[in-house]
């Protein structure tokens, strides 16, 4: 089994488009069903591109305090200890709790001298699953208003790990960024696909991402999406890629890709002769060869 993680630092470079189309292309090339894992819990978009409606397979829960107002003496001990300031005392109204600020550490429950706080649960998000033809999709989705997106990412990744032994190819789609959630995904991967765009900001964020990726010593391929973007910073980007000795592939800037995207369809199936679709196909062929996974 090989795990490919599609990431990219900056938002909107085309991670999800590359991940979904690459997974479909790899499936066609190898005749294998591919497991696609969408870890962008803030706004999972794979299922809209695949036009499927995922079903909840797991609720992600975290601790929240349940306050016994009769037992509470308003001493403020919990308020003082709460590391995220989710609890506070309002004069004449008692103890108040803001769920959005709570990180669920349960400190309040342990420090309350009157045992007025007990364990409650809040719904942080969901792990969902869908059968999408050639792909099997697992995704994490954060409940809007909750902040603990890493918990949802971790739950989705753990769920995927429990079933990924059944697949030869796993593609992980990540959210933008370079933090804890991204590192968690990278640590589970065999090959890293870093999607960037030929803009100054794309380059800046790619450099930052590579400070995280390069030390892991895993094979990396950079995908320059929107290649040919008018006015783009192609020279600067290519110079950087060359200086770092990074392998890279281009996916051409293509109005036909946008046309598929806004219809919520993967270009590689909707318009397989589009320049971007041909480029992703070529990328898939290269990766399949690298994984020695070509259909025998």
């Amino acid at each position: 089994m090989t795990v490919l993680t599609v990431t990219g630092g900056k938002g909107g470079t085309g991670k999800t488009v590359v991940a979904v189309n690459l997974a479909l292309a790899l499936s066609s090339l190898t005749g294998e069903r591919v497991l696609l894992v969408d870890l962008d819990a803030d706004n999972p978009c794979t299922y809209t591109l695949l036009n499927v409606e995922p079903k909840t397979v797991e609720e992600v829960k975290s601790f929240k305090p349940v306050i016994d107002k009769d037992a509470c003496v308003r001493c403020g001990t919990c308020v003082k200890h709460c590391p995220t300031h989710a609890l506070f005392l309002i004069p004449n109204a008692g103890l108040s709790f803001i769920e959005t600020l709570c990180e669920g550490c349960a400190m309040c429950m342990y420090v309350c001298p009157k045992e007025a706080i007990s364990r409650g649960h809040r719904l942080t998000g969901w792990v969902k699953e869908a059968d999408a033809g050639d792909l099997h999709l697992v995704l994490g989705e954060l409940r809007p208003g909750d902040r603990k997106y890493h918990d949802v990412m971790e739950a989705a990744l753990n769920y995927a790990k429990r079933i990924w032994g059944n697949y030869r190819i796993v593609v992980i789609d990540t959210p933008p960024g370079t933090g804890k959630g991204i590192l968690m995904a990278l640590n589970s991967s065999d090959i890293i696909v870093a999607v960037t765009e030929p803009t100054s900001l794309g380059l800046l964020d790619l450099k930052r991402l590579n400070r995280l990726v390069t030390p892991l010593g895993k094979p990396e391929i950079v995908v320059v999406n929107k290649y040919g973007l008018p006015g783009g910073a192609h020279n600067k980007l290519e110079r950087y890629l060359q200086e770092c000795g990074l392998r890279w592939a281009k996916v051409r800037y293509d109005k036909r890709l946008m046309s598929a995207y806004i219809r919520g369809k993967p270009v590689i199936r909707y318009d397989p002769d589009a320049p971007s679709a041909l480029d992703i196909q070529a990328l898939a062929e290269m990766l399949a060869k690298e994984m020695s996974l070509n259909r025998s």
Binding site: G9, D42, T100, G179, I182, M184, L201, R208, A233
Partner: protein
């Protein structure tokens, strides 16, 4: 006044709107601005505003903690492992072992330890720096340690710094450029702001993200308006976006090659190409913001 620019999805044009809003406030309204780059995992705002001409602040921010166990005191009672909500401590034969990749650094373990064997050590969350830029805007940037969590705390600290700088200099406006998404750092970016501008593209993916963001704004009681960016990429969908969002739309900005060129030249669009279609449309949006929200 603190204005936060956010969107549920990446790449819709947050930094584009935020950087040019700063330029508009400064150039068109002669207002001073302190800008905050709250996308601490991929900070771009400083570059979008032309880069640093002079760094005025640079500090390391230690806003996180990691527990350390004094094994000479610990008697393996296991209370810390039981109390940790994040399964970051497990009991090995030789005593408790901390998995720092799971630890949130909130310190419940230290509180429950009956013999006080656990102390919390300050851990570096990231760097904070403030810079002056060529167009007269001070930018406060947060730079999260690679691979780390706790971005929300860094964002709170950035907003606090920006507030202090703005108070000292009697600056009226703070513009916060948020991270993509709706999670921890975005909640911190929005919390306490006076106005949220959500930047939406006319795609189902972006609309979904913005609708999720609006739910967050509602739980925090933050007034929200929208700018529809690159509207001409999918003009047929724009009306639906406006209808589904259900918030005031400040205006529509067309896709324009000048935007990419402006970034490549490291000059904000309103300065780089004031006569471009995107510039004119942006100024209209900001004029509407001024009429409705300013004075």
């Amino acid at each position: 006044m603190e204005i936060v620019v956010a969107s549920g999805k990446g790449g819709t044009g947050k930094t584009f709107v935020a950087s040019n809003l700063c330029v508009y406030l400064k150039r068109n309204l002669s207002e001073e601005v302190v800008a905050v780059d709250a996308d601490v995992e991929a900070p771009d705002l400083l570059m979008a505003l032309g880069g640093s001409t002079r760094e005025v602040v640079r500090e390391e921010f230690y806003g996180s903690y990691i527990p350390a166990i004094d094994m000479s005191i610990c008697f393996n009672c296991g209370r810390c492992a039981e109390a940790c909500e994040f399964d970051a401590i497990h009991m090995a034969p030789e005593g408790p072992v901390i998995d720092y990749s799971k630890c949130e650094g909130l310190g419940t373990c230290a509180v429950v330890c009956s013999v006080k064997a656990i102390t919390l050590i300050e851990d570096k969350t990231g760097d904070i720096y403030a810079s002056e830029t060529p167009f007269g805007i001070t930018v406060v940037t947060g730079d999260l340690e690679l691979g780390k969590g706790n971005s929300g705390r860094l964002v709170y600290e950035l907003k606090e710094r920006a507030y202090r700088i703005a108070s000292e200099k009697r600056v009226e406006f703070r513009v916060v450029d948020a991270a993509p998404g709706i999670g921890c750092p975005v909640v911190s970016s929005i919390a306490g702001s006076d106005l949220l501008i959500t930047v939406v593209e006319p795609t189902p993916q972006s609309l979904k993200g913005s609708l999720r963001l609006l739910e967050v704004a509602e739980t925090l009681g933050i007034k929200t308006v929208a700018i529809i960016n690159k509207y001409n990429l999918n003009p047929g969908f724009t009306a639906e976006v406006e209808k589904k969002l259900g918030v005031e739309v400040l205006g529509y900005v067309p896709y324009d090659d000048a935007v990419v060129k402006a970034y490549t030249s490291a000059v904000p669009l309103l300065e780089y190409s004031p006569a471009s279609k995107a510039s004119e449309a942006l100024v209209k949006c900001f004029d509407r913001f001024r009429e409705g929200w300013f004075r």
